[in-house]
């Protein structure tokens, strides 16, 4: 559980840090971002922790540099942790052949297919190893843990929460790939990482997980820009997840549609403050 500090810069009275560590789950070195608000720095006050999962092609850097989230995390006193999107420094045939599979496109699943299964276990990395690392190394308030993400990372946030009731007290997603079994990106990733048997895809698909969900009531905050080309292209399919939630009393949804906003970071930066306020409210109120 050793993590090495790579960089640190003061930001909104807190610190934006980058850490590196050797991942036992992924069998490679991984890098992740951590924002610590002033309270967590000064007297190590335990703070709620919010995980952010990024989209296709991203590393840990995009969200740190482009979203402007730090001011809201500082305001609400949240620690924010954002991992990379795929194993790094590995050398698998074809890993760099496309932007939507392999490097930068781990899809937050545990791969079953060779050669990916040796490294591509981003689901277990995010829900187990990263949680343990954070608990062991940062002043996090026990149990006050939320998760959100964008696009492929919105999918990741949804499945990590739906597969682990109670692990995250708050869940939101910007333009998530909400039903990957039915969209081109998702089909390619699930075929490549999980295999041709589409029944095996169910446990990695937020819409199907919502249909099956029978545990502690869970609220999901879904955010969607209406000028998002990938919405039109049926890659995201939030309507399918919303329909599945409508027939499951254990799932509540908040769906916010943003007129004129696209899929990019200017969209995220506009609404990340609203998401962080949403998480802060739930995390501070939650029974742990």
């Amino acid at each position: 559980m050793v993590i090495e500090l790579i960089s640190s810069a003061k930001c909104f009275e807190g610190e934006q840090r980058v850490y590196q560590h050797s991942s036992r789950t992924l069998n490679c070195d991984m890098t992740f971002g951590v924002f610590l608000p002033a309270a967590a720095l000064e007297d190590k006050t335990p703070c709620p922790v919010l995980f952010f999962l990024s989209g296709l092609t991203c590393t840990h850097e995009n969200f740190i540099q482009k979203s402007g989230f730090q001011q809201y995390a500082a305001k609400h006193g949240l620690i924010v942790v954002n991992p990379d999107t795929s194993p790094r420094g590995v050398d698998l045939p074809g890993q760099d052949a496309a932007y939507d599979f392999g490097s930068g496109a781990g899809f937050y699943v545990d791969a079953k297919q060779e050669p990916w299964s040796k490294h591509y276990k981003m689901y277990s990395y995010v829900t187990e190893e990263l949680v343990e690392l954070v608990n062991a190394n940062l002043p996090v308030a026990a149990g006050r843990r939320g998760i959100f993400g964008h696009s492929m990372g919105g999918h990741g946030a949804l499945i990590c929460a739906l597969k682990n009731p109670g692990l995250y007290k708050s869940v939101s997603a910007f333009a998530p790939i909400a039903n990957p079994s039915e969209g081109a990106w998702g089909k390619k990733a699930l075929t490549g990482y999980i295999g041709d048997n589409t029944a095996d895809w169910d446990q990695w698909d937020a819409t199907r997980l919502v249909s099956q969900y029978e545990s502690t009531p869970q609220e999901l905050f879904i955010d969607q820009g209406l000028a998002d080309n990938f919405l039109t292209a049926k890659q995201l399919l939030p309507e399918n997840l919303l329909a599945a939630a409508d027939t499951n009393e254990h799932i509540q949804t908040i769906y916010k549609q943003r007129e004129g906003y696209d899929h990019g970071y200017f969209y995220i930066s506009t609404f990340v403050g609203e998401h962080i306020a949403y998480h802060a409210n739930l995390l501070k109120a939650s029974k742990v």
Copy 2:
């Protein structure tokens, strides 16, 4: 005065745009960013315009993507225009040999030395051609014009204002190269672009311009992180500019020192809201 729209994305109810045009001053194609607040879009309400000049190695993209300025420009109803830092698409010997001279390092001067003088006239570009372009193509409120910048761009903002009393109603700078004649970056740039005669450097040095300034009273807002390595390395020398201002009744300074902040974009993002509020206040109150 033709400008071509390259990209546009909705952001904080306004739009972040990127334009390209053929520059008569620089003899090459140039790219610049424009943020338009909602009022400027909806009914073309004339809005004050604030120019931002970036630092060494930057293009127009860094400030757009990393500073998070858009929310504050939206809140205060300002148009923000940010040009590139040097001529692009030209082919001069040695232009890419170093990060602090040539490409990405135009230093906002008008070069006198060959081969730079054919293209490297960023001072005239920013203070004349870009102002004309903006006036001709965007709904700007006549005369309500401010300028700010970072590092090399802080130097640029200061000299553009000091050399043109009244052109900009508000001026601020993050960690400016305040006395380039006395720092390593500045000496290299001024030697290369202007020549060996150091007397010729005076008109491109904010500290020397402050000493000579005899026109309309001008306030300068200087911002400086105290954990900035380049402050320690005597590249920035704000103390020299402040000392010069102390002996000139025509120049007022506001100097804010930020404990623990470095030279990077996390520092800028923390304080850019305060700068934009400062500019908005002066630009809205100014007699034009």
